[in-house]
Amino acid sequence: MQRRHILQAGSALGALGLLSGCATPASGKGPKVVVIGAGYAGATAAKYIRMWSEGAIAVTLVEPNDSFISCPISNLVIGGSKVMADITTPYDNLSRRHGVQMVKDRVASIDAAKRIVKLAGGSELPYDRLIVSPGVDFMWESLPGMNKPGAQDKVLHAWKAGAQTVALRKQLEAMPDGGVFAMSIPMAPYRCPPGPYERACQVAEYFSKAKPKSKVLILDANDDVTSKGPLFKKAWAERYKGILEYRSKHRVVDVDAATNTLKFEFNDDIRASVLNVIPNMRAGDVAVHAGLATANKRWCEVDFLTFESKAAPNVHVLGDAIQIAPLMPKSGHMANQHGKVCAAAVVALLTGKQVNAMPIYNNTCYSFVSSEDVVHVASVHRYDAEKKTMLTVPGSGGVSSAANELEGRYAMAWARNIWADTLA
């Protein structure tokens, strides 16, 4: 056994030696990894596999978008204190500095038996290991009215940063003073638990300055605020009294986009000047169509040592698409952590080394309660070998004592650093 390890390590070193140098482009020889989706998880995995294999593993990253647009900080664009350029990063460093082969396309299908990804453009990408990082897609079937022609162009989610972020900002700018902005929040789990409450703060601050007779109405399907509850409620009471109203246990069952009306399971209809419906979510279409979403047909179950799918060998799933471990949020920070754990495991598996038996990583999440003041939640997660999942380390983690401007500066430094760690 020891001898076998030595031999494996020796051949792996040999393989690495053949193809050293960070910017070595993907060539015909050596293991091949395909990554689907260049968000916080996928882009990080692609970069770190290239770094940690010292260029020995070829990585192709499939992404339909031209550049990376960050969901974190995008609520500040909706509130008007930031612009799209502030949250946009090009992908060129991944190819130029790390030798990741970028392919601008959509995935048509995955053939896990033949280990081939078929692209919408017609080409096929063979792989030794596949990393699926598709983020979330929306369960429009749970809101029939949203499937009528034009409904999704009028009633926005803005829960994937991009064109909808800009469009929602424009709707708020066009809204006459005295109007109501109503936002609905789905049952957890959904991407970015504190995100809706941060967005409500941003819109309320905008109204307080530009449209003081207007109102923000939060309609939450959950029993209470799902993240940083006391801190958000304090901010609402102290900063946005008379502007912002929170209502729990309001589960939207349909939307009439023509009249801007929300219909609820138990409550009366609500009509608003601007609607923002955050729908129920599941793993991205690519993962669902490939049969990877084994938990309630919504989320993808994985082995937390490698992020390998429990449904398909040699296929790994990362980020918001996975069935989370207890107290693990669906966040950009966590997705970046998934990317690095998976990258290390994939490099180990493809070079005959042992996979790290004890991953430890953290989550930090900053929320802006105004354009400057911030609150955080932090946690540390450690692999539990007996339960085969990630658990929070007892005694670790916590939240801010109160919203403060210092953490506002740390939040922007966090953004600059995670964007660089993911993309530069």
């Binding site: 020891q2 030595i6 930090t364 955080h376 932090a378 540390v380 380390v393 922007m412 650093n417 660089a420």
Partner: protein, 100 residues
Amino acid sequence: MKIQHTLTALVVLACTGLAQAQDALQVRSWAAACSNCHGTDGRAQPGMETLAGTNKDDMVKKMLDFKTGRKPATIMHQLAKGYSDEQIVAIAGYFAAQKK
């Protein structure tokens, strides 16, 4: 007998080397979890502390002070409590060895 000893010593050395190599990969993975805020391999963007090439003992002391609450912080006291003292020493060693 001497040859036997030498061989045994070589095998032991080789295995220890492998164990250390494995540990080194594990520590690299642990350290990578700090990079979200402190930059890839500890080389931070503006506004956050760079860890690459920083003195190991200083980093260990700071983290242990965060952990015990001796050093006030916004978030690091909560994160430091998630790591054992041995893990902190290993991770600090990784960052100290990185180029600035």
